[in-house]
C-alpha cells in the first residue's frame, strides 16, 4: 500500500504550506493558522511513525500532548492579537513596526 512514505510526504506538504502561511501572510490570525498547520504536520509525523515503526503507542500519546500545547499556545496567540488590535486598531502585522531601530 502507501505505507510510511505516503504519510511523511503528506506531513511535509502540510509543513511547507504552514511555513508559507507563517512567512507571507499579513493577517496575524493567518500567521497563527500557519503555526497550527506546522504543529499538525508534526503530529502526522508522530502518528505515522507510531503506526509503522515504533509498534508502541508513545507517538500517539505525544501527539495528544502536542494538540493540547497547540491549543494553549493558540489561546496565548489570540490574546496577543487582541492586544495588538487594541493598540493599533488593526491586525495587519505590517502596522506593528513601531519597535524598530
Amino acid at each position: 500500500m502507501i505505507g510510511l512514505n505516503g504519510f511523511l510526504i503528506v506531513s511535509l506538504i502540510v509543513f511547507v504550506l504552514g511555513l508559507y502561511c507563517v512567512l507571507t501572510r499579513r493577517n496575524a490570525i493567518g500567521i497563527l493558522m500557519g503555526v497550527e498547520l506546522i504543529l499538525n504536520s508534526a503530529n502526522i509525523n508522530y502518528l505515522a511513525f507510531a503506526r509503522y515503526s515504533a509498534g508502541t503507542y508513545d507517538g500517539q500519546i505525544f501527539a495528544l500532548f502536542v494538540i493540547m500545547l497547540a491549543a494553549a499556545e493558540a489561546v496565548i496567540g489570540l490574546a496577543i492579537v487582541l492586544g495588538i488590535y487594541q493598540t493599533f486598531h488593526t491586525i495587519d502585522v505590517e502596522a506593528t513596526e513601531t519597535l524598530r531601530g
Binding site: 500567521i31 524598530r100 531601530g101
Partner: protein, 684 residues
C-alpha cells in the same frame, strides 16, 4: 722645672675682675642710677687692686722657692677630657707669668683709677668699667693659663674686649668700623695661632703623647724634633703659625693696621690695651713657647726680621704724624717690633724686660696725652697745641720723663731694655748686623719723633685759639697720681736688669732664666762674666745718635732755625707724602684684600643666582614641560583611544540597529533561515 707647688688662691687673680665685670655689666645701669658713679668706681677698681695684692703675694712666694722649682699651680677643674685631649682649667705662676700679672694688675689698676677721672662725664660709665674689668680678666687668663686652649680663651677674650672698647663710642661710624677692623685683623692672626696649636697637638698625638699644657710640651720637645709637615719641619711650621697669631695681636707687619685706627677709642683704653697689655700678648706667647721657637732657626729668623722691619717701618711713619695719639700708636707698633726682634734673636729675657719698661713709659705717655686732650677740650692735633707746660706741669714732667725713657737715655729704664735688645741683635747667634742696623735706625727715629711731640705739645708758643687757652688746666689728682707713679717706674724700673757691662748683675734675666733655659737664652746670666767691649761701643754710638736726633728736633721745633719743609721737600716731596700717608698700606689692603673678598662674594652670589637658581628653576621648568607633554599624551592619545572605542561602539550600534526592523514577517524569516542553517551544519 717639674717640681711645682700646688696652691688654691691663684684663681682669684682673674676671678675678682670677672666678678667686677659681671656686677658692673649686668645691673650696671641700675647701680649707676641709684648709687651714682662712686659705686661703679668701687666695684670696678677694688677687684683689680685686690688682684694686684694677690699677685704681689704670689710673686714673693715664687721668689722664696728654689730657682729651679719656681712654679705655682692652681688646678681648678678638668675642662676637657675627651679621647686624646685633656685640658684643665688651671693657672700657673712661674717667673714669666709673675712678671706679667704684676704688670697687668699694677699698670691696669693705675689706669682704672685714672679712668675714673677721665671718663667722668661719660653716660655709659658702667659699660666702660665693665668692659675694662672683663678685659683685665681675659688678659689674666691669657698669662696665667697652663695650656694652649685656656690661653686661647684669654686670647680671644682680649680681642673681643678690645673691639668693644675701641668702638665704645659706637654711635660714630668711624669708631665702630675701627673696632670691627681691629677684631677682623686680629681674627686673621687667631686663625694662624689656632692652626699652630692644632699642628702641635696633632704631632704630639702622633707620637703617642697628646698634650696641650706648656710644661708637658716643654718636657717632651724631643717628640717634635725631626718630624716634618709638608716638607718643612713641624717646629718651623708650628712656630710660624703661632707667630702669625702674634703679628695679629702684637701689631707686626703685615697685621699692624688695626692699631693706629684703634686710637678712636677712649685714651685709657689705648693706654691699657694698646700699650701695656693686650698687644704684649703676642710677645708673651713667644716667650711662653720659647722651647718650640728655639728648635727652629728659620722661625726665629722670620720673627727677628719682621720685628726689626716693623720697628723701623713704624718709626718712619711716626715721623710725619700730627695727631698726638697717632704718633704714640706708631711708636707702640715700633716698640713692639723691638720686643719681637728680641724674641727672634733668642734674647727672650730682654724682650720681656722691654715689655715691662714699655708698659710703664707708654702707659704714662698715653695717659699724659689723655690729660692733654682732656685739657684741650678734645683737640688732638699737635699743630694746634704748644707751650702747655705752663698750664700742666705734672703732665709735662711725667711726659718728659717717659719720653726720655722711650728714647733710651742712659739711666732710664728704657735705656737698659732697649740697649739690651740692640746688643743681642748684634751679638746673638741668631742676630746679625742687618738686624742691629734696623734697631739702631729705629732708635734714632724714635728719639726724634718723640721729642718732636714733646716740643710741639709742651714747648714754645701756644697755637691754640683763645677760647681753648682759657680752659687749659691741669688734670685732677685722680689722673695725675697714676702719671707720677708710672713716670717713677719708667725711671727706676730699669735697675732690675742692669747688664754686666755696666756693673749690674742682670737680676731680671736671672729671675727669668729657668723659664727660658730650654730656649738657650742668649743672655743666660749665669754664663756671662766676660764683657765684650763692643757692647760699650754700641751703647755709646746709640746714645750719641739719640742726642743728635734730639738736637735736630730741638733745632726744628724750638729754635725753628731748621724748617721741617727741608725734609718734607726732599726728593720732590714724594718720600714725605708716602710716609705721611702710612705708605698707603691701608689703601692697598682695602683694594686687594677687602675688595678681593667682595669680588669673591659677588662671584659666589652670581654663581648662586645664575647657576644654582638656574638649575633649580630649570628643573621646575623641565617638570612643567614634561607634564605638559604628558597632558597632551593624555588628552590626545588616551582620550583618543577611549573616544574611538566609544565612537566605534556607537557606529556598530548604529549599523546593527537596523536589524531591528519591527517587522514580524522579517523576524519569522530570520528564524526559519537560522533553523535551516543549523540543520545544514549538523548534517554536514
Amino acid at each position: 722645672m717639674h717640681e711645682l707647688t700646688e696652691v688654691t688662691y691663684l684663681r682669684w687673680i682673674p676671678l675678682l675682675p670677672l666678678i667686677g665685670a659681671a656686677l658692673n655689666g649686668i645691673p650696671g645701669a641700675l647701680i649707676q642710677k641709684n648709687w651714682g658713679k662712686q659705686a661703679i668706681n668701687a666695684i670696678a677698681v677694688t677687684p683689680v687692686l685686690l688682684a694686684f695684692c694677690i699677685s704681689v703675694y704670689a710673686f714673693f712666694q715664687v721668689l722664696g722657692l728654689d730657682p729651679d722649682k719656681r712654679m705655682l699651680l692652681d688646678h681648678m677643674w678638668t675642662w676637657i677630657d675627651s679621647g686624646n685631649l685633656n685640658a684643665g682649667a688651671a693657672f700657673v705662676v712661674d717667673p714669666l707669668s709673675a712678671v706679667m700679672i704684676l704688670i697687668v694688675t699694677g699698670v691696669g689698676g693705675l689706669i682704672h683709677i685714672y679712668s675714673t677721672g677721665y671718663m667722668h662725664d661719660e653716660k655709659s660709665y658702667w659699660r666702660f668699667f665693665a668692659l675694662l674689668n672683663l678685659f683685665t680678666f681675659s688678659m689674666l687668663v691669657l698669662v696665667l693659663a697652663d695650656n694652649f686652649l685656656l690661653m686661647f680663651v684669654g686670647w680671644e677674650g682680649v680681642g673681643l674686649c678690645s673691639y668693644a672698647l675701641i668702638g665704645f663710642w659706637y654711635q660714630t661710624y668711624e669708631n665702630a668700623t675701627a673696632g670691627s677692623k681691629a677684631f677682623i685683623v686680629n681674627r686673621i692672626g687667631d686663625f694662624g695661632f689656632a692652626l699652630g696649636v692644632f699642628l702641635i697637638f696633632w704631632t704630639m698625638a702622633g707620637a703617642d703623647h697628646p698634650t696641650v699644657t706648656f710644661r708637658d710640651l716643654a718636657a717632651h720637645t724631643n717628640l717634635i724634633e725631626g718630624k716634618t709637615f709638608l716638607d718643612f719641619s713641624v717646629a718651623t711650621v708650628a712656630c710660624v703659625m703661632l707667630f702669625v697669631g702674634a703679628t695679629g695681636k702684637s701689631a707686626q707687619i703685615p697685621l699692624y693696621v688695626w692699631l693706629p685706627d684703634a686710637m678712636a677709642g677712649p685714651t685709657p683704653v689705648s693706654a691699657l690695651i694698646h700699650a701695656a697689655t693686650m698687644v704684649t700678648a703676642g710677645v708673651y706667647m713667644i716667650g711662653r713657647t720659647n722651647f718650640l721657637f728655639s728648635m727652629s732657626a728659620d722661625a726665629l729668623s722670620i720673627v727677628a726680621w719682621i720685628g726689626g722691619l716693623t720697628a723701623l717701618f713704624a718709626a718712619t711713619i711716626g715721623l710725619a704724624q700730627n695727631d698726638i695719639k697717632r704718633v704714640l700708636a706708631y711708636s707702640t707698633v715700633s716698640q713692639l717690633g723691638y720686643m719681637v726682634l728680641a724674641m727672634g734673636v733668642g734674647a727672650y729675657a730682654y724682650g720681656i724686660f722691654h715689655l715691662m719698661t714699655h708698659a710703664f713709659f707708654k702707659a704714662c705717655l698715653f695717659l699724659g696725652s689723655g690729660s692733654v686732650i682732656h685739657a684741650m677740650g678734645g683737640e688732638q692735633d699737635m699743630r694746634k697745641m704748644g707751650g702747655l707746660k705752663k698750664w700742666m706741669p705734672y703732665t709735662y714732667w711725667t711726659f718728659l720723663i717717659s719720653t726720655l725713657a722711650i728714647a733710651g737715655i742712659p739711666g732710664t729704664s728704657g735705656f737698659f731694655s732697649k740697649d739690651g735688645i740692640l746688643w743681642s741683635a748684634w751679638s746673638s747667634e741668631h742676630g746679625s748686623f742687618g738686624l742691629w742696623l734696623l734697631g739702631y735706625a729705629g732708635a734714632a727715629m724714635t728719639a726724634f719723633y718723640m721729642f718732636r711731640q714733646v716740643f710741639m705739645t709742651f714747648e714754645g708758643e701756644c697755637r691754640a685759639d683763645h677760647h681753648t687757652q682759657e680752659h687749659l688746666h691741669e688734670s685732677p689728682p685722680v689722673m695725675t697720681y697714676p702719671l707720677i707713679i708710672l713716670a717713677a717706674l719708667a725711671l727706676i724700673g730699669g735697675y732690675l736688669g742692669v747688664p754686666h757691662a755696666l756693673g749690674g748683675s742682670d737680676r731680671f734675666a736671672q729671675f727669668l732664666a729657668p723659664v727660658f733655659s730650654a730656649g738657650h737664652d742668649a743672655h743666660a746670666a749665669s754664663a756671662h762674666h766676660h764683657v765684650d767691649p763692643m757692647e760699650y761701643v754700641l751703647m755709646a754710638l746709640t746714645f750719641a745718635t739719640v742726642l743728635g736726633s734730639i738736637g735736630l728736633a730741638y733745632l726744628m721745633y724750638i729754635k725753628k732755625s731748621l724748617s721741617a719743609d727741608v725734609f718734607a721737600d726732599l726728593g720732590g716731596g714724594v718720600p714725605y707724602r708716602w710716609v705721611y700717608n702710612k705708605y698707603y698700606v691701608d689703601e692697598l689692603y682695602q683694594a686687594v684684600v677687602v675688595n678681593g673678598l667682595l669680588l669673591v662674594t659677588r662671584v659666589c652670589a652670581g654663581f648662586d643666582r645664575y647657576i644654582i637658581d638656574f638649575i633649580v628653576d630649570g628643573t621646575a621648568y623641565v617638570t612643567r614641560f614634561v607634564s605638559w607633554i604628558n597632558g597632551l599624551f593624555d588628552s590626545y592619545i588616551i582620550d583618543g583611544i577611549v573616544n574611538r572605542i566609544a565612537d566605534a561602539t556607537l557606529d556598530i550600534g548604529t549599523r546593527f540597529r537596523h536589524l531591528q526592523t519591527g517587522s514580524i514577517n522579517g523576524y519569522l524569516y530570520a528564524v526559519v533561515a537560522g533553523a535551516v542553517l543549523v540543520m545544514m551544519v549538523r548534517l554536514v
